[in-house]
């Protein structure tokens, strides 16, 4: 029943789309008034999508296995929480979530943009509707979440155990708010270009949307990363997997866009940058969806290999790209003054430098992700691009990037001289000495490390100092940049100070090394609703003093029958103690992996600082001159 309502709601909402198209074309001829029917229809459409989404949730909660999505991704013994989160833990349901965000953002846009020009609002609505219609047809045609099965199976196939996790349950909705939320920026920029409304007022208005998308995208990526850290059990937090890359690319574009919008709002410069980046952010999001959903790349998020779906998204994506190209080249008017007002030492120049660095990072990630496809098609060669590629290409360029981040915000708009040069130099000297000492103590000998540490410390100290200066105004920016320096420092220390013990133990045995001993005391078995767990108890001692008791788990899920390894992690401010245990085949031994990972929590924490720094500028009323 719920499935049926959900299914028909999709058609009703498609009907709304067609009505909206009709009325907005009609409304375009009216020069003054915004037709309020459009707002009502948009609201109605949102209601239908919400209804459809709830229809699917209810089918999941009731374990209605006549619905093939529920049958394939749920099971009666799942806890309620994971029955609900199973709704978006699959291809069909997550596309319904896409639609929900698309329509929600459109509605919010319409009610919050009443002061904007009428024609611009109608056109934004029109462009967003094109996207909505595209996804509605996609959903109904190729990925219907309400497909029926007959005869009705008595039991479902179950949700993939690694997805049965609290962080991952909320990861898709949060990520989508950012990922799909960028659609409204896309629609808006096309509308603003078409009506020649790219202006300071427009920048001020679109800035909020950029910020919201950016904030949720950052948090969404963070949640995914935290999940990968404790669930995949390798103790890493970023694997350069295609699916991570496709979320990072829109993030880089969005971050750059945000900086450009600031310049646009102040100085009416960089308009072409803003237009291109707004288009790029959403097309990159769609491109990501294409890459991971079509099965063209192998990834953890490949739900199913279905070339038909891939083909549809591909054609739709390129329709949008060509539409944007047309608008950009024929309707968008650049102001001829762009090049004249740039002075080399000014805030806008430093933002321009920042842009080019971000574009470089974006290009590296993009090439690393899709180059294997190109090579395969053109020459039938297969390559796999791993972390070494990204590290080699990105790390050296972080150095000037960090320095630009430290000095850029100190400059004024248009033209400036560096004031207070003395403290800039002093802090640089301190950073350099500190880094030098650290490198000596850690006995890592590379020159590039010293410079990297220096630039990260430099940004750290400069932003830190600014917190204590009274006349300092741009708090949001400073927090975000401070967070970034903290992030880089944490990653560096984490990378260089991590230690690891890997050994095979059986119950009762003790592993001993110079620094520590690990005693495998016992194992116990526990039965839970959706899995059985084997829990090991390990006493970690250092200098004969008990440091930690760690209890890693092996979970044997009943539906589907999969064994997962749950790390036990003890977190404190300075370091994470991380332990996983795995079965060694056909033996009574367990493979134990014990890691000490310094500053792990600071990596997460600094991303939160960055996000909230960004969010803070949402509430900022006065801007610095």
């Amino acid at each position: 029943m719920a499935s049926l309502i959900g299914f028909y709601s999709l058609f009703f909402s498609l009907g709304c789309s067609i009505l909206i198209l009709f009325f907005s074309f009609k409304n375009l001829q009216d020069t003054i008034n915004f037709d309020n029917k459009l707002l009502s229809l948009t609201f109605l459409q949102l209601l239908f999508i919400i209804l459809s989404f709830f229809g699917l949730i209810i089918s999941f909660v009731n374990s209605d296995f006549s619905n093939s999505t529920v049958f394939n991704h749920s099971h009666t013994t799942k806890p309620l929480f994971y029955k609900i989160s199973g709704t978006w833990g699959n291809h069909e349901g997550s596309l319904l979530l896409w639609l929900l965000v698309l329509t929600l953002f459109l509605f919010l846009f319409l009610i919050s943009s009443k002061k904007q020009p009428k024609k611009y609002r109608v056109l934004t609505l029109l462009f967003q509707q094109i996207i909505i219609i595209g996804f509605l047809i996609f959903l109904i045609q190729t990925s219907n979440p309400f497909a029926q099965i007959y005869p009705v199976p008595s039991e479902g196939l179950g949700l993939n155990p690694i997805l049965q996790d609290p962080a991952l349950a909320i990861h898709p909705p949060i990520l989508y708010l950012g990922y799909v939320g960028s659609s409204i920026i896309f629609s808006s920029v096309l509308a603003a270009s078409s009506t020649n409304y790219i202006s300071k007022e427009w920048a001020k208005h679109i800035k909020q949307w950029v910020l919201i998308s950016w904030f949720f995208l950052s948090l969404g990526i963070l949640l995914g990363s935290i999940w990968a850290y404790y669930e995949l059990g390798w103790g890493g937090f970023w694997f350069w997997d295609p699916v991570e890359n496709v979320s990072l690319m829109p993030w880089l574009a969005l971050t750059t866009l945000f900086h450009c919008v600031l310049v646009l709002e102040k100085k009416l410069l960089l308009t072409s940058w803003v237009v291109v980046l707004s288009i790029a952010t959403f097309t990159l999001s769609m491109c990501g969806t294409f890459l991971v959903r079509s099965g063209i790349l192998n990834s953890v998020h490949t739900f199913a290999d279905d070339p038909d779906r891939g083909l549809y998204i591909l054609i739709f994506l390129f329709t949008l790209i060509f539409l944007s190209l047309f608008i950009f080249f024929f309707l968008h008017k650049t102001d001829g003054q762009n090049n004249n007002t740039f002075f080399w030492l000014s805030k806008e120049t430093s933002i321009l430098i920042n842009n080019w660095f971000m574009m470089y990072f974006l290009a590296v990630v993009l090439i690393g992700t899709i180059y294997p496809i190109f090579l395969d098609v053109l020459t039938s060669q297969k390559i796999s691009v791993g972390p070494p590629f990204y590290h080699k290409l990105i790390i050296p360029f972080l150095i000037p990037f960090l320095l630009a981040m430290a000095i850029g915000p100190k400059l004024n708009w248009i033209k400036s001289n560096l004031q207070n040069k003395s403290h800039l130099l002093l802090l640089f000297a301190i950073s350099l000495i500190l880094s030098f000492l650290i490198i000596r103590i850690l006995e890592i000998s590379f020159l590039v490390n010293t410079i990297l540490f220096t630039s990260a410390f430099y940004l750290f100290f400069i932003t830190l100092r600014d917190f204590f200066i009274k006349e300092f105004k741009n708090l949001a920016q400073n927090i975000a940049h401070f967070g970034f320096s903290l992030l880089i420092l944490s990653i560096l220390f984490n990378n260089f100070l991590s230690t690891e013990v890997i050994t095979n133990l059986k119950v009762g045995e003790t592993y001993k090394s110079d620094e520590l001993s690990i005693n495998f005391e016992r194992i116990e078995k526990i039965k839970k609703q959706n899995f059985e767990a084997i829990i090991g108890k390990f006493n970690v001692k250092s200098d004969n003093e008990l440091v930690d008791i760690l209890k890693p788990e092996l979970r044997i899920y009943n539906q589907p029958n999969i064994v997962t390894s749950e790390a036990d992690i003890k977190t404190d401010l300075l370091s994470d103690k991380f332990m996983t245990m795995n079965l060694v085949q056909n033996q009574e031994y367990f493979n134990i992996r014990y890691q000490i990972k310094p500053f792990m929590i600071w990596i997460w924490f600094s991303v939160i600082i960055i996000s909230f720094g960004g969010l803070l500028s949402f509430f900022k009323k006065k801007y610095e001159k």
Binding site: F318, G336, S384, V385, G386
Partner: protein, 182 residues
């Protein structure tokens, strides 16, 4: 000035627009073709080529071996190029462990551009399917075999490559190897 700015923009468009259209069409074409390709990696036809001759260090030791000492006649060898940082290598690892049980086959690992510590951890964690591991820290030996990256696997018999697998092994390829060795 307005006029010159306009014509300047026009000029720019004349070059940029066709360029953008052509590049996007090209990308579309590539992705379209890529979509219709199967994801199962198709072996290349280097079959029956002689294996390269080389000298190589044995992993975890200072010993050096030549290719003739490693690949003896009348025995099937599976040369598997792997690295601890390579995620597909983890995927194919269970297949290697399964193949290890086959008494007619010896699996030789070529550890590609890896750190010894990480590689050892990888083996400790997932178990060691190899009878012998060679160390290719700079990746030159993989190049001599004509490998494009990791993982890649070569089935060798009597000094000749009789099968080549690019990318991670899957169930079908696993069965093909089993039947080839019989």
């Amino acid at each position: 000035m307005g006029c010159s700015a306009f014509s300047k923009k026009n000029m720019k468009n004349k070059i940029l627009l066709p360029f953008a259209i052509v590049s996007f069409l090209f990308i579309f074409f590539i992705l379209y073709v890529g979509l219709n390709r199967s994801n199962i990696y198709i072996p290349e036809t280097v079959i029956n080529e002689k294996i390269p001759t080389f000298k190589v260090k044995v992993f975890n030791s200072e010993k050096e071996l030549s290719s003739i000492e490693i690949f003896k006649n009348d025995i099937y060898y599976l040369l598997n190029i792997w690295a601890s940082w390579c995620i597909p290598c983890r995927d194919e690892h269970p297949y290697l462990m399964e193949l290890k049980k086959n008494k007619k086959l010896k699996i030789v690992g070529l550890n590609y551009k890896d750190k010894v510590k990480n590689a050892n951890n990888f083996l400790n964690e997932l178990n060691n399917p190899y009878t012998l591991i060679l160390s290719d820290t700079d990746g030159t030996i993989a190049i001599e075999w004509g490998a494009y990256g990791v993982p890649e696997t070569f089935l060798v018999y009597n000094g000749k490559i009789i099968k080549k697998i690019i990318g991670p092994m899957n169930n079908n390829l696993f069965k093909e190897i089993e039947s080839a060795v019989k």
